[in-house]
């Protein structure tokens, strides 16, 4: 810190500098406040499809690793030094303190650099940021999860959570749609979800290939496959904006109250801390007030969909 | 020994623009030696017609990327004289400083990047980064200094932004000027190191008597304006530039040729030195003497040395100028003016020699006629005849084709030709 001295010529003054010490933030707030991230190693890279990969990140410092706690639905800012940051949903179980999983689609510069990175590469993460799915509030009720494409990334955390506390929820149903069968990610986990977590999984694709035996069409077609008790059901919807518009509309008609439907929004983000204003929707920030919003708020947010 | 060979160099490298050398030797005798400029013409004199006087210097600046300040100031000088605009003294001094900046950028660029590899036998200056790091460093420091002077005085080092009709649109701050002064002082060591280094190089022995033309102002070393003089005793007023150029077209070049009293004449650092050695500061004089350079020197290879001598001169001049500027009020550096009809010439000493812009305006201040004569144009004929003489000398001395070729390209580069500029 620089010192500031006020020297008044002709007068012999020795005043204390007014520059104050910067208070220790780390003590005041539990969350990280500076630009400094947790250094993490990419310990494993799992190819999921041509454009999507799962990265396993391990925070290098054991203490920091312990400190990193998040809730399902939250995201982090993933920094690839030299290339920049991108907001990425955390795709692993909240109880997994060893690794953080992120599922990434190659979209631009940061994500492309990540795709070139090798196992062992060092990246940095800031976070967790944002709101989460109300896992406690949903207890004692049925949960309907509707996922389109890469929307599965933020959905894995709640899935893991439910798997760990399966007895607290009634019926749990996952509707999962994609363009092509190859874009249904994590198919290796389908069995686990169905058998171990007792999740009723329904999949559908728009463009089937020869080996596809399942449902064909848009995800809304799956709604005829089951009955639902609107008063007793919570819905979580993740996917492209156009999808959740249709889905939520449909669920609204089926009688699920708007404040029991949750969606995860995506916007351009630069800081993750509600400062840069890049992610504002209406008068809220996707990073602070979101990314998880209930549908009532989304309806009331200007330009949300 | 009867030899036959042809040297055909298309698009000579390490010069600005496109020029070709053609030498043909038959039966051990020189059959032909020619210098041809094949640059694509840009027709500046035609496109400037109808342009507002205010904008014209910005356009003519684009004649050359290396000496854009000279072009800008030549146009400004011509137009100010034509329209009787009087720029404030502070502005005139800042322009002068800008000129020094340009020379101090252009000379090191030529000496280190374009010429030095010839003397050291490398294809470019890039290997010197490893073999002569301290010299490259000195070169970069000097060139950087030149660029910085240009940026501070004119807003940017290439294509100046604040040199305008009537003065300077934004004067540098005193802090910037004081900072420049320190930087100049700090660069003296680099220049001395460079000078010592150049003393170790062998300058080819070649002499062809010619007429050297340059400006000669009322006082000081030539830069902006003055009488047009030659080593053959010619003296003309600035406006009579045509008598000093006598442009003519040749078949082989898109650039014109010029002459004064003889078949060719030369402009540039050596010409300025030959005509104005008496105006040099003692330090520059000593440096010249240490290279055995004295007026009138007829060895074109010595142009490199003359550039070095000028660097010494300009660093000193720049410091003196900054001292004057620091004592002046720099708030009002731009005079208001009204358009009017007129015609005048603006002559400046660009790094490569005298540059003329002649401008005629109408009542609305639009340019109706323009003529620009570029230093390299004034050197074309001299290069051409020098090549001839040099090739003959080389044959006499029994040099090989490769040696001859090397001498010829080194000769052309010694002129530091600015070819795209000569075809404007």
């Amino acid at each position: 810190m620089h010192d500031m001295r006020f020297n008044i010529p002709g007068k012999d003054l020795n005043l204390e500098p007014f520059a104050l010490k910067i208070p220790d933030f780390q003590k005041k707030c539990e969350v990280m406040i500076t630009d400094k991230g947790y250094k993490s190693r990419i310990t494993n890279i799992v190819p999921l499809s041509d454009h999507e990969r799962l990265f396993l990140l391990r925070i290098v410092d054991p203490h920091e690793r312990e400190l990193f706690n998040f809730r399902p639905g939250q995201f982090l800012m993933l920094e690839v030094p030299g290339y920049g940051e991108a907001p990425i949903s955390i795709s692993s179980s909240t109880s997994n303190h060893e690794f953080i999983e992120v599922c990434i689609r190659k979209a631009g510069h940061v994500t492309s650099a990540l795709f070139e990175a090798k196992q062992g590469a060092m990246v940095s993460i800031r976070g967790p940021f944002g709101t989460s799915f109300p896992m406690e509030e949903m207890q004692g009720h049925s949960v309907l999860m509707v996922v389109g494409g890469l929307g599965i990334a933020p959905m894995r955390a709640p899935l893991f959570w439910i798997g760990n506390h399966r007895d607290r929820y009634k019926d749990v149903r996952l509707l999962y749609g994609a363009k092509e069968p190859s874009q249904l990610l994590f198919d290796y986990q389908f069995e686990e979800w169905q058998k171990v977590s007792n999740v009723d999984l329904l999949t559908i694709v728009e463009k089937p290939d020869d080996s596809w035996k399942g449902n064909v069409g848009l995800i809304t077609a799956l709604f005829d496959e089951f009955t639902l008790e609107p008063e007793d059901t919570y819905a979580i919807v993740c996917g492209p904006p156009i999808m959740f518009k249709f889905v939520c509309n449909h669920l609204d008609k089926r009688g699920i109250p708007m404040n029991r439907m949750f969606v995860s929004l995506e916007r351009r983000m630069h800081c993750g801390m509600g400062k840069c204003c890049r992610c504002m929707v209406g008068s809220t920030f996707t990073c602070l007030d979101g990314p998880v919003f209930d549908y009532w708020s989304v309806m009331n947010l200007k330009e949300a969909i | 020994m009867k030899v036959d060979f042809d040297i055909d160099l298309h698009h000579l490298t390490r010069v600005e623009g496109h020029g070709n050398i053609h030498i043909s030797v038959r039966d051990g005798r020189l059959a032909e030696a020619a210098w041809a400029v094949v640059e694509t013409p840009r027709f500046f004199e035609a496109i400037v017609k109808g342009m507002s006087a205010e904008r014209t210097p910005f356009l003519t600046s684009r004649i050359c990327g290396i000496c854009s300040i000279s072009h800008t100031l030549a146009s400004i000088r011509a137009l100010e004289r034509a329209m009787e605009i009087e720029a404030p003294e502070s502005a005139i001094l800042i322009r002068q400083l800008a000129m020094y900046g340009e020379h101090l950028q252009s000379h090191p660029l030529h000496l280190f990047f374009l010429a030095a590899p010839d003397f050291l036998g490398t294809p470019s200056a890039l290997p010197l980064l490893h073999t002569h790091p301290e010299i490259v460093q000195a070169g970069l420091q000097l060139k950087g200094l030149g660029n910085e002077i240009s940026s501070v005085t004119s807003g940017r080092c290439t294509h100046p932004v604040s040199l305008v009709l009537g003065g300077i649109s934004k004067a540098p701050s005193k802090e910037q000027l004081a900072d420049l002064r320190t930087k100049i002082a700090d660069s003296q060591a680099a220049l001395d190191r460079t000078t010592d280094f150049f003393r170790t190089l062998t300058i080819p022995d070649f002499v062809r008597e010619t007429e050297f033309i340059s400006l000669r102002p009322a006082e000081g070393y030539p830069s902006i304006g003055g009488d047009l003089v030659s080593t053959d005793g010619v003296v003309h007023d600035e406006n009579d530039y045509l008598l000093m150029t006598n442009e003519y077209l040749t078949d082989s070049s898109t650039s014109k040729f010029t002459k004064v009293s003889r078949e060719s004449s030369a402009a540039g650092a050596l010409a300025r030195f030959n005509n104005n050695a008496d105006r040099l500061h003692s330090r520059a004089r000593e440096v010249a003497a240490s290279f055995g350079l004295e007026p009138v020197c007829h060895n074109p290879f010595m142009n490199n040395v003359a550039q070095l001598v000028e660097c010494h001169q300009l660093m000193e001049d720049a410091t003196l100028l900054i001292d004057r500027l620091l004592d002046m009020d720099l708030r009002d550096t731009r005079a208001t003016w009204k358009p009017r009809a007129g015609k005048a010439t603006g002559a400046v000493e660009a790094p490569r020699g005298i540059l003329y812009h002649c401008m005629e305006t109408d009542d609305d201040g639009k340019v109706v006629k323009a003529d620009c004569i570029i230093p390299t144009t004034q050197n074309n004929a001299n290069i051409h005849f020098d090549l001839h003489a040099l090739a003959e000398q080389a044959l006499r001395e029994g040099r090989t084709e490769a040696e001859t070729e090397k001498l010829c390209v080194t000769l052309v580069r010694s002129y530091d030709p600015c070819i795209s500029c000569s075809v404007h």
Binding site: K118 | E16, P41, I47, F58, L114, S124, L249
Partner: protein
């Protein structure tokens, strides 16, 4: 840089000039403070202005200047055939530059004016993209070395290479300049692509639009502004026409 587990190679660069002042190429040798590092990024394979060594195995071609003679078309096509990335380097290459002013007058007249009617081959000036496909444009008269450095680093590291989409005013305001419109002058800053750090308005001269139009500009509003302030339309046109970057807007008049 191997914290990500991969190495970056130097890129092989060729620099070529056509009809122009060579000021943009010269910028490659400017900014002396970082020149050694800059040269560390690239492997110069072909650059007549500074090196006698010429190889034709470059990947990136920096092409400076506009096209005004038929032999230049062939040379340019050959460069395109070799280069993986062809960069239009500077305003002349991107838009035609000041050379395009000649297109307003009949070619014979221009030749008569300058060469007394001697036979000289020339044709209306064209920008590079009129002839070959351009992968990347770096506008500027001259180009800004900072931007060139940034883009070269971007190419070498395969990270972001893009130009600002917003206009010069943003940078100008950040320099705390007085707006030239307030001083009674027309400035093309509001419609010209930023990236030059507003050098011209900072030197208190109008932006002449050397970097061409910014993304999605509001030209009608700009014209309105000039009319509103009772500034000269002919002055506006002279400025818009200076570098040929605004040809599309000059043509359909309001």
């Amino acid at each position: 840089m191997n914290h990500l587990g991969f190495k970056l190679d130097k890129v092989k660069v060729g620099s070529f000039d056509f009809t122009c002042c060579e000021g943009c190429q010269l910028q490659l040798a400017n900014k002396e403070s970082t020149l050694p590092e800059f040269l560390g990024l690239i492997d110069i394979r072909n650059f007549r202005e500074i090196s006698s060594e010429r190889h034709d195995d470059y990947d990136i071609a920096l092409v400076e200047g506009s096209i005004t003679r038929s032999d230049e078309i062939e040379r340019l096509k050959a460069i395109r055939a070799q280069a993986k990335v062809l960069v239009a380097f500077g305003t002349c290459a991107c838009f035609g530059g000041v050379n395009s002013l000649k297109n307003r007058i009949p070619q014979e007249e221009a030749i008569r004016e300058v060469y007394d009617g001697k036979k000289i081959e020339t044709m209306p000036s064209m920008k590079i993209s009129d002839i070959v496909e351009v992968d990347l444009s770096i506008p500027g008269c001259p180009v800004s070395k900072d931007e060139v450095e940034r883009i070269m680093v971007g190419i070498v590291t395969r990270s972001a290479v893009s130009l600002p989409k917003y206009p010069v005013c943003v940078e100008c305001k950040q320099k705390l300049n007085t707006c030239l419109f307030d001083l009674g002058e027309i400035c093309l800053g509001p419609i010209t692509r930023a990236g030059c750090d507003a050098v011209c308005p900072t030197g208190k001269t109008a932006c002449l639009g050397c970097r061409g139009p910014a993304e999605d500009i509001n030209f009608p509003s700009f014209e309105e502004l000039v009319l509103d302030r009772k500034l000269s339309i002919s002055d506006m046109k002279e400025k818009l026409g200076f570098y040929n970057g605004f040809g599309d807007y000059l043509d359909h008049e309001s």
